[in-house]
Every structure is written in structure tokens, then in C-alpha cells.
Symmetry: C2
Subunit: 461 residues, 2 copies
């Protein structure tokens, strides 16, 4: 939707010139997200600075029937923060203040534009850990909450949802409401807080969050475990879980992706001789406990097909391993002309089946499908690479491969998205997964919050 | 609502005679819950045995506009499972099967009528822990999920919500849907699973649940710490949290309540000389880690006003302490002619303020207000006792005391209910807390699930 001159001047009067851009002034970056598969320009871009300001804008937009989309750092992969119907884009990165650390309640209160890496560092400096640890550290916390981001530590610590205690939200009509609070328990009506989490900016605008912290574990050690075959590596994971140790993270990675990351970063990975790797982390407050856990797991792996076990405990090795892990997405992107992604989650004991299936698909459709992901929690990041394919053939293969993949994920008891969300790109697959009844319930809920359908239209459902 | 003869014979044809009771056949127990403040008989009581059967009943009830209320073990305290509008009551305690233990995915799948104590025991026998640990062990899991029960271990492990991975739900119109699954992460549309949790049987009927387990910690030790004054005991808790240890539970208890429990159980508590006690638990897989934690805390307590520290590590002592803790509610109930309860939750560092306030209220209104609860997570269980008061005066004092208590809880950043729920008895206070906008959103959500308002009518909102 195009705003008219009256609407534009209302907004220009409300917002200081440095924070508002109109039409051609808006940079190309704002027409897409990190993956770039969904395009669309907003008519107006506003770099918002406060809950009150957002409330004023929403009150007006609601009155005037103007669509609004909220964008954090733009690191999404499914087009959730793209203005597919034009209108107003609210960009939250100036709302980047950490408002309070409450050591008695173990909470930190932040504005939604704070970046994950800023929060992580702040917590560590105060001897706390904010456990959710998605690969993309430059995402905003608001974005993490909106997709219920999971990250690597979900095996032990759970996902973003588990760390959100309270939210300040601007509703589509401009009303400011608080859901939850600093409280640990809550059984006071339907959990609107939990409805907001993972709703990808379609129900309300998250402006502040009260997040739970945990004491920083004293000790953290990783194991890098090479295998001859990916299926063997991943197949070990449910057995590791049955050992009743509690790894913080269990990631899987294949040589191809490691080599891309080496090239992308210009940094060597400790070992790239094997074709598949598990990367496990253990943390805790007692060195003996952490050692006990990782030694038990290392022994098990060596007795069950691992080619070696590298202990990652020096700062250099940790940096080399985790910076590679953090660069996988960018590295794969740099390896091809165009790509699309699949973020399914399956039960942990079906990950090996699923990866095996993607290998078959790759051969069947003659298309490159590198992957990496969270073997410990069943969340896979799978990339379908265009490489040299012509437009038509690429679209056709992508459609076929996606159809088969999402169908297999459902058959294994999985879901469309583990942490990236549904956004614009995965709506069809969500509908296939959930079926008409659940989609209709979700549409009903959307209508309760946003009867005019103005907030992030055409997303999720 | 009274069912007509045609409706009754339909149900009698559907359900075998041993599992259906009509009108006068229904026992007095089914007219109220554990606390007994809310009364009402259903017209028909059906002891249901399967999801399919519930679906059939709901399909018919929906068609015929018959209200339905679901009841588990009837241990609720706010009237949520009382048939205030008559109709059909579905009782779930025959649905008490543990369906699957999946050690690779760390999940257990149960029917909703399984009792908490049955699940806890089953998990332990297989060397797992189901962390949620409400005091009432004979509640059903379905009831626990419906109130998002918290329990004692919430300080370290969180609440029921954090352990529900998937739900099978019969919607008001009879449709069977599955929300979530065995998956650890999920970012696939609005979390209908989290909407069901804590909805007190108003949105759908939970028939099966996939629950998360954790490996059973090898070691668990409690500390019983006596203080001269309750405010000093509770005031220590935020400081203990700041020590960056992670207690599993931090309970507070006062001498009066301990003496009731001793009398009620006919068993001695290890110490009743002091007027206030903290009970802390520490668990973990390494004895040295657990010892390190509790020694640090014991030292801190002794240096900051504790009169002593008793280590509770023998089976006898554990039994004596925890059986007393489990009997508090019954013991207080037995000490008075009638009572009502307040289950507010406040930020952990405001618990001492709140308890101090209840002491003032008790003096001001000349009424006995014993309490106990979860100092570590801010959830208080406060009982207003009628004792010898005449009906009129009791009602008047109760109303005044409640009004002041809930207002204070809000002022401290708290909520109406930490874990017992809103049900029928606390609706007014929920409305006061949340305000019109949030209540209207909740009513809208209710309508999406249950347009005819037939499932557990007049509850929560």
C-alpha cells in the first residue's frame, strides 16, 4: 500500500527527519531479509526509539488502515520481516538498551532491538548466562522472541520461550500491554506471553522483554568427534542421550561445509580429514562433573565408530571451532549463486533418517543439498543450492525437493520450522502440516488481536 | 442445564453402565473440588476411557448445546472442575495409562488421567526425573497441565509448561487435534500447545501428553534452616540466589503450620523450636558439586541470622521433612472450620514484603492467616481461616482481606495465581489484574475455540 501525502506528513511531523525515510530514500537492504527470497519495499521506514512512539504510530496506522511490518536486524530467512504489502516498516535497532539487571530475580530487562551478541556479552560480564544461542549472533532479541529461536544449547537449556518471563507489547490498535512479568510461575489466564512468542510480528509489537538468566557455568568443554559417515555420527546421538549425561549442545557438520567455512573465514578448522563430525559441549560448575560427563561420552563414541575425539578446551581451539560453526550459513551462501533453506525439526532419533533422506534427494534430483544443524535437538538446517541451474529448472527442482522434504518431516513426527519460523516463504508447508482446523484457529486468534489484518499481513497463516 | 430424556438415553447407549451416573446417582464429591468453595452438580457423570470416546461425546454435546466440564482427581482449589452450569462431567481418572517411555527422545507419553505420583514413580524407576513437583501428588497430569502447575522444583527446573512437548486435544466440537510433538524446538505457527497449558479446561480437553524427562540426579540433599523471624528467613532468599548456586527448591514454613502438620500426620518434624524455617534442596550428579553448593549456602545462612542448619540427607529425615511439607494444606484445613486460599506469585525479592503484609492484615482484621510456599520462586500459598467466625463476619473479612492481598500482589509486580489457577473463584481478581483489554483478548480466544461457550463455562474469564 502507498501512503498518501497527508499520511506521510503526519508521520514526518511525528518523527525527527534522521529516523524516517520515504520511498526512494529507503535502501535496498530493507526490501528483503538475510536469505533474500522474499521482496517488497515499505513506503515509509521509521527507526523507532520507544514503546510510546510505536504506540502513537500504531494508533494512527490502525485508524488509517495502513499495513505495518516490524524489522529487527533483518537476519531472518523466511521473509517474515519483509513489507510484502508496502506500508510502514518499523525498524527496532535503535531500541538497543539493556534496561536493568536484577540479580535477585535473575532477570535482565531489555529493549527488543538489543542484539543477541550484546546481551550474551553483557550477561557474561556479570557472570550470568543467557542460554539461548542461535548461530546468528547479530539478530535482535525481539526477532529471537518472534521466532522462538532455539540455537545450540537447546539440548540442555531449552529455547527462547523458556527464557522469556515478561513482554511489553504494542497491540495493532496502539494499546500498550504487559504480558507476564518478573514472576517465575504464572497460572493467571491464557498465556498471551506464550502466544506472542513465535508469532513473527503478526499479533503485536514486542518492545521490551524481561528475560531469565542463569548463573554462568564455571567450566565449558567441547568435543569434536570425527566419523566416516554422517549417518553414523548422527546415529550415535540418541545413544549418547541414553547415557544420561546432559550435553549442552550436540551439533553435526559435514566436511564440505567445514571447507566452505575455512575458505569463507580464511581460518583453519582443527581437523577436516573425516567426512562427518559431531561437536558436543558440556558445561557445569564442577570440573570433575564436566570431565566425568565428557569422558563417558568420548569413550562411548570411540567404542562406537568414531575415528578420533578432539578435546576443545583451549581458547584458540574453541575460537576456531565455534567461529566456523557460526559462519556455516554465510559460507554455504557464498558457495552458490542462490539458495533456499529448510529448517525442519524432527524427533532427535529420526535426524539420521532425515539426513540420509536428503542425501538420497540430492542424488535423485541432481542438486547440491549441504546441511548442518542441531543433532541433539532434532533441528536441521538444510540448504538447497542453485549453483549453475537455469531459473526454470531451479524453481522446479526446488519445489519438488521441498515437497518431498516437508512431507518426510511430517511422516517422522516433525514440524515445518524448528526456529527460523514460517514467515512468508513457508506458509504452504505450515498449512500442509497443521491442517485446516488448526490454521483456522490461528486465523481466528490473529483476528482477535488484529481485526483489520494490518500488522505484518500475509505472514505465517 | 438439565439434559432431557433423549439426550440421556443417547449417552447411556454410548457408555457402558458402570461408567455413567445420572442425577441422584452422582456422589457428593463430584459437586465440589478439594477446597469446596464452589458448588454444583453435573446432570451426568461419565468416567471416560479414550480420546475417541471423548470426541464422540463432545460431538454430540456440541450439537445439542450441552455444557461439559472435565474433572481429573478433583484436587483443585478454585472450582475450575466444578459443573456450575450442570450438563456433562467427564472424569478422566480411568485414563491412567503410561503409554510410552522414549529414552532416545527423553519423553514419556501419558494419558491425562495418570496421577502425578504415578508418573513420578515410573520416571524414577527408569532413572529419570519428571521435574514438576506440586505438593498435591494425587492430582492428574491433565490437571497439572491445565493449571500450569509449578511445584517446589521450579527454582531450578521451571514449571509444567517447560515439560510439555505435545498434547492430544479434543476440541469443543469433537475434533481431535495434536499440538506439538516429540520435538524439542518448534517455530511453526502460534503455539496452540502453550495456549492449552494453563487454560483450565476451557479451550479443549487434554487427553494425552508427551512430556519431557531429565536424567535422574544421583544426589539430592536438603537443608532445614531455622530463623527467629519469617521476614529474616525469606529475606535471605534473594541473597542466596545472588550467590550463584542453583537450589532445586527453596520453601518457607512457619512453626504454626509445622505443628499442624505434626498433629495431622502424627509424626515429629526434626525441629520446631524456631518460628520460621527455610527448606532448601540441592541436586546434581556429582556429590562434590552438590556439597559445594549446599555448604556455601549453609555458611551464608549461618553468617546472616540463621539459628542453625540441619542437613537432611538420611531417608528418615527426608521422609519426615517432605511428608510434613506435603501435608501442609490438609493440616491447615483440619485446623479450622472453613478456609479460602490465595495463591499469588510475586517477584522473588518481594516475598518477604508480602508475607510481612499478610501478618499486618491478620492483626488488622483479627483473622488467622497461616501461609507456606515457594520462597525461591515467589509463589505463596496463603490461607484465610474462618475458625469461630459467624457466616456474615467471615464473608466480610474474607472479602476485605482478599481485596487488600490481591491489590498488594499487583503493586509488587505479581499475578493472581502462581499455579492453582483462576477457575471460578478468582475471576474477579484476574480481571482486576489484567484489565479489560487482555480479558477481551482472552474472551476472543475462547470464542475461537468454543464459539458456543459450552466447554467449562463461566471459568477463568
Amino acid at each position: 500500500m502507498k501512503l498518501n501525502e497527508e499520511q506521510l506528513s503526519f508521520l514526518k511531523n511525528l518523527i525527527e527527519p534522521a529516523r524516517i525515510q520515504i520511498r526512494d530514500e529507503i535502501g535496498e537492504d530493507y526490501s528483503h531479509d538475510e536469505l533474500g527470497g522474499v521482496y517488497g519495499y515499505p513506503d515509509v521506514l521509521i527507526k523507532v526509539v520507544s514503546t510510546g512512539e510505536i504506540s502513537q504510530i500504531m494508533t494512527y496506522a490502525y485508524e488509517q488502515d495502513i499495513p505495518v511490518v516490524v524489522r529487527g536486524a533483518g537476519t531472518g530467512l523466511v521473509g517474515a520481516a519483509v513489507a510484502v504489502r508496502g506500508g510502514i516498516m518499523l525498524e527496532t535497532t535503535l531500541m538497543n538498551h539493556i534496561l536493568e539487571l536484577d540479580e535477585e530475580n535473575l532477570t535482565v530487562t531489555v529493549e527488543s532491538g538489543v542484539l543477541l551478541m550484546e546481551l550474551a556479552q553483557f550477561a557474561e560480564e556479570h557472570q550470568f548466562l543467557y542460554p539461548p544461542d542461535p548461530g546468528e549472533k547479530s539478530a535482535t532479541i525481539g526477532g529471537n522472541i518472534s521466532t522462538n529461536a532455539g540455537g545450540m544449547r537447546a539440548v540442555k537449556y531449552g529455547v527462547t520461550r523458556d527464557y522469556v518471563r515478561g513482554l511489553t507489547v504494542v497491540l495493532p490498535n496502539g494499546r500498550v500491554e504487559r504480558f507476564g512479568g518478573k514472576i517465575v510461575k504464572n497460572s493467571s489466564g491464557y498465556s498471551l506471553k506464550d502466544l506472542m512468542i513465535g508469532s513473527e510480528g503478526t499479533l503485536g509489537i514486542i518492545t521490551e522483554a524481561i528475560l531469565k538468566l542463569v548463573p554462568l557455568p564455571d567450566k565449558s568443554v567441547s568435543l569434536l568427534v570425527p566419523y566416516k559417515k554422517m549417518e553414523d555420527a548422527i546415529g550415535t546421538v540418541p545413544e549418547i542421550i541414553k547415557l544420561k549425561t546432559t550435553p549442552t549442545a550436540i551439533e553435526f557438520m559435514e566436511r564440505e561445509v567445514l571447507l566452505f567455512a575455512e575458505e569463507f573465514l580464511g581460518k583453519k578448522f582443527p581437523d577436516t580429514k573425516s567426512s562427518a563430525y559431531l561437536l558436543l559441549t558440556f558445561d557445569g560448575n564442577s570440573a570433575s562433573q564436566v570431565e566425568g560427563e565428557y569422558e563417558k561420552v568420548a569413550r562411548y563414541c570411540l567404542e562406537h565408530g568414531a575415528e578420533d575425539v578432539f578435546i576443545v578446551d583451549t581458547p584458540e581451539r574453541k575460537d576456531s571451532v565455534w567461529s566456523a560453526r557460526g559462519a556455516f550459513l554465510e559460507a554455504i551462501k557464498a558457495s552458490t549463486s542462490e539458495m533456499d533453506e529448510c529448517d525442519v525439526v524432527v524427533p532427535r532419533n529420526r535426524v539420521a533418517d532425515f539426513i540420509h533422506f536428503t542425501h538420497d534427494l540430492s542424488r535423485k534430483h541432481d542438486i547440491r543439498i549441504p546441511s548442518f544443524g542441531h543433532a541433539g535437538d532434532g533441528n536441521l538446517h538444510i540448504y538447497i543450492c542453485r549453483d549453475e541451474l537455469k531459473e526454470n529448472l531451479w524453481k522446479q527442482k526446488l519445489t519438488e525437493v521441498f515437497a518431498e522434504m516437508y512431507e518426510m518431516a511430517m511422516r517422522l513426527g516433525g514440524a515445518v520450522s524448528g526456529e527460523h519460523g514460517v514467515g512468508y516463504a513457508k506458509k504452504k508447508y505450515l498449512e500442509d502440516q497443521l491442517g485446516e482446523v488448526q490454521i483456522e484457529i490461528m486465523r481466528g486468534i490473529k483476528k482477535v488481536f488484529d481485526p483489520k489484518g494490518l500488522l505484518n499481513p500475509e505472514k505465517v497463516i
